[in-house]
């Protein structure tokens, strides 16, 4: 069982779990079927987009910053209603593939990921690209240890 144990500490900022939230490094890439299509056509396959995912037990679905889909050239496959403080809105839905290098978990297909503007940098400079929601967390064991500022994640 791949296990990820991450002490969220940096020399410049000390313990960062409370400030930044539980983070795991991710690489987001195009779906396998699109990769096959581009390869067969002799078209360039875009490089994966790397950054961090914030583990978000409050979200039922995983969301990724819109800029990632734009960079990867993935077309939307649907729209979903979203609830915002200003009322109802719509967000595009995309397929993608995700790799968690820290877990040695590679090319996990994600059938429906919400595209929205969520990118930001933590105080220690980690760029958040993804909110990892319960649709993916259902496959993981997660321990949030606030006392020692670490998370334990197993797949």
């Amino acid at each position: 069982m791949p296990v990820f144990n991450f002490y969220q500490w940096s020399e410049s900022h000390g313990y960062t779990l409370t400030a930044s939230g539980p983070l795991i490094s991710v690489e987001i890439s195009i779906p396998a079927a699109l990769k096959v299509y581009l390869s067969e056509k002799g078209l360039p396959v875009p490089a994966p987009q790397s950054g961090f995912a914030l583990i978000d037990t409050g979200a039922f679905a995983t969301a990724v910053d819109q800029s990632v889909f734009d960079a990867l050239g993935i077309a939307p496959i649907d729209k979903i209603q979203t609830s915002t403080p200003h009322g109802a809105a719509e967000s595009p839905v995309y397929p993608a593939t995700v790799t968690f290098p820290g877990l040695a978990l590679t090319e996990m297909p994600m059938e429906r990921v919400i595209g929205c503007n969520l990118k930001w940098k933590t105080a220690e400079g980690k760029e958040i690209l993804m909110l990892l929601g319960r649709d993916l967390l259902q496959y993981f064991l997660l321990v949030y240890n606030g006392k020692s500022a670490d998370i334990f994640l197993a797949y």
Binding site: G21, L34, G58, I74, I77, D78
Partner: protein, 85 residues
């Protein structure tokens, strides 16, 4: 007049929804433009078929369910995810 991506396809899906629910509930359907292209057992198979036919063009891939999901993320929408207090 230009239309937003998937606007046509979503309108087609809305028109067909009652029929689709009666026949394909729980399956994944593929729509491109005004054309309904069929139902599939998995989203993966539907997407593979869509890419095979249309490459990087947008096409609609939707699960046929009576109730549409709504994405609520209060912390994100309220800006609390990266708020510093």
């Amino acid at each position: 007049m230009t239309t937003m991506p998937l606007e046509t396809e979503l309108a087609v899906f809305a028109r067909m929804k009652d029929t689709l629910l009666a026949t394909y509930e729980g399956k994944f359907v593929l729509v491109h433009g005004e054309d309904f292209l069929g139902a599939f057992d998995s989203a993966e198979n539907a997407y593979a078929e869509g890419v095979k036919r249309f490459g990087q063009e947008p096409f609609l891939l939707k699960k046929v369910t009576a109730h549409e999901e709504v994405y609520r993320n209060q912390a994100l929408s309220l800006g609390l995810i990266h708020a510093r207090i």
